[in-house]
Each structure stands twice: as structure tokens, then as C-alpha cells.
């Protein structure tokens, strides 16, 4: 009797697992399908004598070709390499500077108690509730005054992104809060200054959160469309990939540019995705920690 029961339990679990696998495989297919489609379309030539560069009703191209990729890296036809480099420069600068900024703010708010600390935190929280685009027009004119729009859009974008990054201190401060204060106290009794504690103790202990902050900051500019297009307005050489490719897709004749967009998307996605996969562990840690503390 007991044996029988166990047997049915086992069978039940096995059936459950089979259903589980089917669902998971289905999910995987749905999630990967757009990327598969993107990849396939990027191999479809836009050359009218070979195939068609717009949208079609099949996925696998009739003839595989590298025309789109050749087009991307042909500097006589378009500025893709320039756009790509722009984005890469912005991303790297923003990743480094944002992280430094966030670390400073987080340490000050987590470890030091000064007059107006809670007031400052509350004020920033309220500021964060204003929609970012509201500030766009004003920022444009501010940057224009110092020549950081159009031709100077790259440093301008970096400046704006870094300047306001201090408000995103939540996750990092949450992490600092979990490092026991007793460690700080011990070092200070031994005569170390706050700055020394910060540089030689707190920072080395915060590797995961530093990587997380830098990773998120690095990924941001790759999607930055709105602000980048506003600041670089009309100046082709200052575009980032998102602005330029959005134009291929929506503003320009997307019928002919669709496969080129796909190829460009693949070239953008590969390094970012690889980096992300590589540092996934830290990302998960940061996201989960941030979610629980709210």
C-alpha cells in the first residue's frame, strides 16, 4: 500500500517535471525568438540584385550574405563606426565617473552623521519623482551656453549623466550599511582618518557593488535615445548608436534599412551581452539586494 502510494507520487512528480520542461522550452523559444530573427535578418542582403533589405514574411534568408555588416563598417557610406565609438566613449566615462560619484555619496550618507543628512536624502527622493524630460529643454540651453551641444554633445552627455548620478545611491548605500561599523571604529581608534578608512577598507570590501554600479552605468548610454537626440540635434557626427539607428528604423526609409538596422543591433548587442553574462553574478546580487531594501 505504502509502496503503491510512493509509486504514484513518483509518477505524479515525473509528469509534473515533464510539463515543467515543456513550459520552460516554450518560454525559452519565445524569449529567444526575436534574437534569432534579428540575427537571421542581419544576414539578409539589402542589395536588390541579391535579396531585399526591408521586412519580409520569412525568417531564414534565401542567401546568406555579409552585405549589411560590410555596409556598417564602410566609413564612406555612413558614420556607424563613429556612432559606435561615441557610445563606447560615453559609456566608459559614465561608468567610471558615475561609480566614483555614487561611492562618495553612499559613503557619506551611510557612515557620517551630519546636519541636514535626512533632509538631503528626503529632498533627493522628492526630486527623483519629477520626470526627467522636464529638465531637457533647460539643460539643452545650459549646455549650449558652454558649447556642449551639437558638435560638443559627447562631453555634454557625459556631464549631464554624471552630474545627476549621485541621486542613485540607494543600492550602494544599502550595501555599505551591511558592512559592520565596528570595523570602521577599530581602524579609527588605530588612528586612520575617515578618508583612509574609505579608500583602504570600505572600497576593497565593496567589489560586488562597485561592479554592479559600473555595469548598470555602462549599459545606460546604449539605450539613451531621448536626451542624446535632443542634445546632438541635427549633428550627425555626435549621434550615438541608439539615435542613429532609430532614424534608420523610423525616420528614414525603414523598408530598405531594416536588415542594416538588424546588423547594427547585433553588433551593439554582442559586447554588451557578453559583458553582462560575464558579470551576471554581481548584477543579480545588486538587483536582489536593492529590491529587498526597497
Amino acid at each position: 500500500m505504502a509502496n503503491n502510494n510512493q509509486g504514484s507520487m513518483k509518477r505524479k512528480r515525473a509528469v509534473g517535471n515533464v510539463i515543467g520542461y515543456i513550459v520552460l522550452i516554450l518560454i525559452s523559444l519565445i524569449w529567444l525568438f526575436p534574437y534569432f530573427g534579428l540575427l537571421m535578418a542581419s544576414f539578409r542582403s539589402f542589395d536588390a540584385s541579391v535579396e531585399y533589405g526591408g521586412m519580409v514574411d520569412y525568417i531564414i534568408p534565401h542567401t546568406f550574405s555579409l552585405d549589411n555588416y560590410r555596409f556598417l563598417f564602410d566609413t564612406t557610406q555612413n558614420n556607424y563606426t563613429r556612432w559606435y565609438l561615441n557610445t563606447l566613449i560615453i559609456s566608459l566615462c559614465v561608468a567610471v565617473l558615475n561609480t566614483l560619484n555614487v561611492l562618495c555619496v553612499s559613503y557619506a550618507l551611510s557612515r557620517m552623521r551630519f546636519k541636514g543628512r535626512t533632509l538631503l536624502m528626503r529632498f533627493w527622493l522628492i526630486l527623483g519623482m519629477f520626470p526627467g524630460f522636464l529638465t531637457m529643454i533647460c539643460l539643452y540651453f545650459l549646455l549650449k551656453q558652454v558649447g556642449l551641444t551639437q558638435a560638443g554633445a559627447i562631453p555634454g552627455l557625459i556631464l549631464v549623466s554624471v552630474a545627476s548620478s549621485g541621486m542613485g545611491y540607494y543600492v550602494c548605500k544599502g550595501y555599505f550599511d551591511t558592512i559592520p561599523k565596528a570595523l570602521d571604529e577599530a581602524a579609527r581608534i588605530d588612528g586612520a582618518s575617515r578618508a583612509r578608512v574609505f579608500l583602504t577598507m570600505t572600497i576593497p570590501m565593496s567589489k560586488p557593488i562597485i561592479i554592479y554600479t559600473a555595469l548598470v552605468a555602462f549599459m545606460g548610454p546604449w539605450c539613451d535615445y531621448v536626451f542624446a537626440s535632443y542634445i546632438a540635434f541635427g549633428h550627425d557626427k555626435s549621434y550615438n548608436v541608439a539615435v542613429a539607428m532609430q532614424r534608420w528604423m523610423v525616420v528614414g526609409d525603414y523598408q530598405g534599412y531594416f536588415t542594416r538596422f538588424c546588423a547594427g543591433g547585433i553588433v551593439v548587442a554582442i559586447p554588451v551581452t557578453l559583458l553582462f553574462m560575464f558579470l551576471q553574478k554581481y548584477y543579480v546580487e545588486g538587483v536582489t539586494g536593492g529590491a529587498v531594501k526597497g
Partner: protein, 466 residues
């Protein structure tokens, strides 16, 4: 009850503020009365006392700040500040071949505000300067020693390290966030739009007229459009948050399930979606559902449909498509978070439930869900407010379309407040209404946060689930 509680609190805060102000003024008076000539001259020349007392580091710093601010206010800002009340009266015009330059309302407002802030900064530094003099004098009077310049400098990396760390971030946030926000709040009270573009057409203060227009329900008013867009914004955020939340947890539980293998593989597949920049994936998906896109094309080819499904042209269908695509975006993120949290649920809770003969569904309802809701309450709230302002998904998928003639201000059927704001800024240069909408977005976000935050169980009793 809550009202009763808060009103005396508010009164207290106000009374507090005044008592602080009064005692502050008193202290300033005492400082002057009891001050020696060094302190008294410092009231005019910042840092004078410190300099004479040998503390040249802080003395020079104060003096430099004073000189800088005074130069800024009188050398540059005064011109703008004086016109702030009218925002300029003489427009730039052309007389024959010559251009006669006049005022520029935009710059007057922007730099006028900046100057106003500089004046506030000046007063603050003045107050700090007075206090420093007072302390120095008291220390000397009590026969103690003043800190040396070296100690002053070292304190910037020790007891005053917070000021060193926060100086740049605070200035950055001030110039690039606070100033623009205050500026746009001011624009909401002006008539800055396509017909009033400085320098050829100045704009000026109009009081509450824009808010009036927002809530007027006539044919030219923004009232009905605002309500329509607001309802869709709230509904969208609700759907996007909770559907993703529950499905994400479900997927996480499925992957965590005993007996399922290759857990890491399944997770990685989903996580790719977070890594690929959204403008690539979302633009592709948007074209996937287009009238001439892959899905319609394929269905037409195999004869499943006779005419293309209007995914983006039909208002209801577009809304459904957006919510569905957002599931595709949102699940991986939620799955990541839920995976970590699910593992934190004490296993013995399930064990004892199993012994009591609970079914999996009962365990889910009475153990998993309460725990998850408790732990992720604040997270859900930030997700909700994030979705209220989820520009990317809407803009990259439907651009707010389908377009309609029934809504004013260029709003489409799937526009959120935030994308509507964007359209008004970019397409119509209707800055005044964009600013009003921006303020409304703030009110909605802040209102929702405030109300929900106070209802959250994890805020009400922090020990609840322990």
C-alpha cells in the same frame, strides 16, 4: 485619525522652524554685540576675523567665496534678476537691415533663478562666516587653542570628510537637476509655447491660466485628454507591474522546482533580455507586429488570416500588445529577484505544512505569497512608479499611437503622461503645457508613493514576518 495626527505635527514643525529662526537671529545679534573688531568687520568682509587670527586657510576660502558670489551677482546676474518680474519687455526685432537686440525671456528666467540661488548661497555663507567667528572668539576667550591650518586641512579628510565627498555631487545635482526643475515649474506659470519663442516673441507670467486650461473640458481644453491619458497611465502601470510580478514569481518557482535540471541554462536564456539594449530588441519586436511585419506576413502567407491584424493601428489591440510585450521584458527581471528571495523562505515552513497535508497551491497561497508580498512591498511600489514613467516601452513600441483626432496636444491612444509630455516638448514646442503635465506626473507619482507607502505591511510593522 491620520489627519489629527499630522496637523499638530505640522504646527510643531512650523513652530520649530520659527523658534530656530528666532534663536538664530539672537545669536547673530549676540555675536555682533560681544564681538571684537575682527568679528565685526567679518560681517562685511568674510573671513576677516579668521585671517587676523592666523587661520588663513578658512579665511581665504570664505573670502574667495564672497568675492566669487558678489562678482557673479553684480557682474552678471543682476541684469537678469532685475527683469525677472516681467521676463523682459523689449523683443529682439529687425529695423530695416539691422537687428535690434532686446531681452530674452528664456535667459532672463534661467539666469534670474540662478542669481536668486546665488543670493541664497551668499546669505548661507555669511551665516556660516558669522558662526565661525563666534566659535573662534569663544575658544580664545576660554583660553583654549585654535586649530592650526594644518589641522583644518586634515579635517577635510576626517571629521569633515562628508563635506569633501558631497561637495561635487551636491553641486552637480543642484545645477543639472534642481535648477532645471525649478525652471520648468516656473515655465508652467508662463505662456512659453510655439507662439512665444524668445528672442523675437517674449513670454511672460500668466498665473494659473495653464492649469485652468488643463482642467477645462471644452473643445480647446486639455481636460478630457488629460483624464483619458491619466487613466491609461494608471491602468498600464497596474497591469505592467502585477502581471509581470506574478508571472515572474511563477517562472522562478518553476525553475527552482525540485527535479528540474539545467537551472542555470534556463535562467541565462531569460536574462539575455536584460542585457540586450532595449532600443534593439523593442524596435525589432515593434516591427515584428507591424502591418507588414513578420507575424502578419507569415499568417497571411499560410492563410490563417485574410487581412493583416492591426496590432498598432487599433487602440485596444495596441494596448494589449504593449502589455504582452512588456511581459516579455519584465519577467526575466522579476525572475532574478524572485529566485533569490524564494530561497530565503525557511524550508521548515514548507516541511510542517507538508506534514499537515497541505497541497502545493495552499502552500503557495499561505506561505510563498505572503512572504513575497511582505518582502517585496517597497520594491513593488518603485516598480509601479517606474512603470508610470516607462518611456522606453511605449515610445519604442507604438510611439504612443494609434493617432487620434479626439485627443488634443498630439496625444495618441497609448500615450502615457510622460510620452505625451515628450511629444508636446519636441513636436509642438508647447513648453508651458509640457511643464504643467510634468508637475501632474510628479503629483501622481508622489501621491501614489505616499499613500501606498503608508499602507505597506513591511513599513507598518517591520518585524512582521520573523
Amino acid at each position: 485619525m491620520a489627519n489629527k495626527k499630522s496637523s499638530p505635527k505640522k504646527k510643531n514643525a512650523l513652530a520649530n522652524f520659527f523658534s530656530i529662526l528666532v534663536s538664530d537671529l539672537k545669536e547673530i545679534g549676540v555675536t555682533f554685540k560681544e564681538g571684537d573688531f575682527k568679528t565685526r568687520i567679518s560681517f562685511l568682509i568674510f573671513g576677516f576675523g579668521s585671517l587676523l587670527r592666523g587661520l588663513w586657510l578658512r579665511g581665504l576660502a570664505l573670502l574667495a567665496v564672497e568675492a566669487g558670489l558678489l562678482y557673479f551677482v553684480f557682474g552678471f546676474g543682476w541684469n537678469y534678476l532685475s527683469k525677472l518680474s516681467t521676463l523682459g519687455t523689449i523683443a529682439t526685432s529687425k529695423k530695416g537691415r539691422k537687428t535690434v537686440y532686446g531681452d530674452n525671456s528664456f535667459l532672463i528666467l534661467l539666469f534670474g533663478l540662478l542669481t536668486l540661488f546665488a543670493v541664497i548661497a551668499f546669505i548661507t555663507v555669511w551665516r556660516i562666516n558669522v558662526r565661525i567667528n563666534r566659535t573662534e572668539q569663544l575658544i580664545l576667550k576660554n583660553g583654549r587653542k585654535l586649530p592650526t591650518n594644518k589641522e583644518d586641512f586634515a579635517s577635510l579628510f576626517d571629521s569633515n570628510f562628508d563635506k569633501t565627498l558631497l561637495a561635487l555631487p551636491v553641486i552637480g545635482i543642484f545645477v543639472f537637476t534642481v535648477l532645471p526643475i525649478v525652471f520648468m515649474i516656473c515655465v508652467a506659470f508662463t505662456n512659453y509655447d510655439a507662439n512665444h519663442q524668445p528672442p523675437s516673441n517674449l513670454f511672460t507670467w500668466v498665473g494659473l491660466e495653464n492649469f485652468h486650461q488643463l482642467f477645462s473640458f471644452g473643445s480647446a481644453g486639455f481636460g478630457s485628454t488629460f483624464v483619458t491619458v491619466l487613466i491609461w497611465t494608471l491602468l498600464w502601470a497596474l497591469l505592467a507591474t502585477f502581471i509581470d510580478y506574478f508571472l515572474g514569481i511563477a517562472v522562478a518557482m518553476l525553475i527552482n522546482k525540485k527535479g528540474i535540471r539545467f537551472k542555470k541554462l534556463w535562467r541565462t536564456i531569460l536574462v539575455v533580455t536584460i542585457a540586450v539594449p532595449q532600443f534593439v530588441s523593442l524596435l525589432y519586436v515593434s516591427k515584428l507586429f507591424a502591418r507588414d511585419g513578420l507575424i502578419n506576413g507569415y499568417l497571411l502567407k499560410i492563410g490563417a488570416i485574410t487581412s493583416a491584424i492591426p496590432f498598432w493601428e487599433n487602440a485596444v489591440l495596441a494596448k494589449i500588445t504593449i502589455v504582452v510585450v512588456n511581459i516579455w521584458i519584465g519577467i526575466p527581471y522579476m525572475m532574478l529577484i524572485a529566485t533569490g528571495l524564494l530561497m530565503n523562505i525557511p524550508e521548515d515552513l514548507y516541511e510542517s505544512a507538508r506534514i499537515d497535508g497541505a497541497t502545493p497551491w495552499q502552500m503557495f497561497r499561505h506561505i510563498t505569497m505572503p512572504y513575497m508580498l511582505f518582502v517585496t512591498g517597497p520594491f513593488l511600489l518603485t516598480q509601479y512608479t517606474g512603470n508610470l514613467n516607462n518611456f522606453n516601452v511605449i515610445f519604442l513600441l507604438s510611439q504612443g499611437g494609434p493617432k487620434t483626432g479626439n485627443l488634443v496636444g498630439g496625444a495618441g491612444r497609448t500615450d502615457l503622461l510622460i510620452t505625451w509630455l515628450y511629444k508636446m516638448t519636441i513636436n509642438d514646442t508647447n513648453y508651458r503645457m509640457a511643464a504643467v503635465i510634468g508637475i501632474m506626473v510628479f503629483i501622481v507619482t508622489a501621491g501614489v508613493s505616499l499613500v501606498v507607502y503608508n499602507l505597506l505591511p513591511s513599513v507598518k510593522d517591520e518585524e512582521g514576518f520573523q
